[in-house]
């Protein structure tokens, strides 16, 4: 018996939406281009915050200011990436299912999300107390370093999917 997930992926692949994207000469390159340019928005905003948490980059701005001002752009960029990524996935679902990098990328994305969740529900709650202190707490620096690395790995896995397809 086929794994249920494979059945789902084949169903997505053969859905009218998947077929329509494959049939069109333009949809796939447009989605690919959008998905590539979205990287700049997501990484540019999140990396600037990550660097700030490490005491680098925009040091003249408070951590809370950088976070509140740039995270909306991270989210907007992420929305574009999720939407374009979902459509690209549907159009190649049957092949993606068998590409390990695809699952590695999803795992890395989950880790990046988990890291952000732990940061925002944890040490970030008391940002007002530590952002003016001479040293940023280790937990915050760790979250910044992890985010920096995890997002780079997400991009690397995404690039590897392109080569494997």
């Amino acid at each position: 018996m086929k794994p249920r997930l494979l059945v789902l992926f084949e169903w997505l692949n053969d859905s009218p939406l998947g077929a329509a994207i494959r049939a069109s000469e333009w949809w796939y390159p447009i989605l690919e281009a959008v998905h590539s340019l979205g990287i700049i928005v997501v990484l540019g905003s999140i990396w600037t915050l990550d660097l700030r948490l490490l005491g680098l980059g925009v040091r003249s701005r408070r951590v809370s200011e950088v976070a509140s001002q740039l995270l909306p752009f991270t989210w907007a960029g992420f929305g574009v990436q999720a939407a374009s990524g979902a459509l690209l996935t549907v159009s190649e679902a049957s092949r993606l299912y068998h590409i390990p990098y695809f699952w590695i990328k999803l795992a890395l994305l989950s880790l990046a999300g988990l890291n952000a969740l732990v940061f925002h529900t944890g040490v970030y709650r008391s940002v007002g107390e530590w952002e003016t202190a001479p040293e940023i707490p280790l937990r915050a620096r760790l979250a910044g370093a992890l985010s920096l690395g995890l997002w780079a790995l997400v991009i690397a896995a995404g690039r590897a999917i392109g080569y494997a397809l």
């Binding site: 390159p29 690919e32 281009a33 590539s36 340019l37 990287i39 700049i40 928005v41 990484l43 540019g44 905003s45 990396w47 600037t48 660097l51 680098l56 980059g57 925009v58 040091r59 003249s60 701005r61 200011e65 950088v66 001002q69 740039l70 909306p72 752009f73 780079a152 991009i155 690397a156 690039r159 590897a160 392109g162 080569y163």
Partner: protein, 159 residues
């Protein structure tokens, strides 16, 4: 394919180029570094532009932010350029025959010149600048750098 000037054949025949082509992993790895460094350079420029536009980080802080992010932009630039040259050397003849590649290079030259002149002037301005001028300068900068990045993707898609 064979109508590229001899210099590109010579570039491609260098031991370094052959070495990159000879390894299966080299091009994907170099390309990934190229992509990440590009995202750092274009991403930090984007943050400065958003600040100039007044939509993220206060406009008053533009000169300071531009100074603080400058090393990251230039670091990203340097690595993108270096890896880009390696990628070009490995496939010089093929690349030289692609109009998309030359279009990207022309756009890059334009964006680079713009960044060093008009953009830099505005970032260094001591007086607060008019909003209309800010919108135009930052908008053009964003369009140019996203255009260069699109050019890179287009080499793979349509080249």
């Amino acid at each position: 394919m064979n109508d590229a000037p001899p210099i590109f054949h010579w570039m491609q025949s260098m031991p370094l180029s052959a070495c990159i082509r000879g390894s299966r992993a080299a091009i994907p790895i170099i390309e990934t570094i190229h992509l990440l460094a590009m995202a750092l350079a274009a991403g930090t420029i984007m943050v400065i532009d958003l600040s100039i536009l007044g939509v993220a980080l206060r406009r008053e802080s533009v000169p300071r932010i531009a100074r603080e992010l400058g090393p990251w932009t230039w670091g990203g630039f340097g690595v993108t350029l270096f890896t880009g040259i390696l990628l070009f050397l490995a496939e010089a003849e093929k690349m030289a025959c692609k109009p998309v590649f030359w279009a990207k290079l022309a756009l890059l030259a334009g964006a680079f010149t713009y960044h060093l002149t008009i953009h830099r002037q505005l970032c260094a301005a001591k007086e607060p600048f008019a909003l209309a001028r800010a919108r135009l300068t930052a908008g053009a900068s964003l369009a140019l750098w996203f255009g260069v990045a699109f050019g890179g993707k287009a080499i793979g898609l349509f080249g």
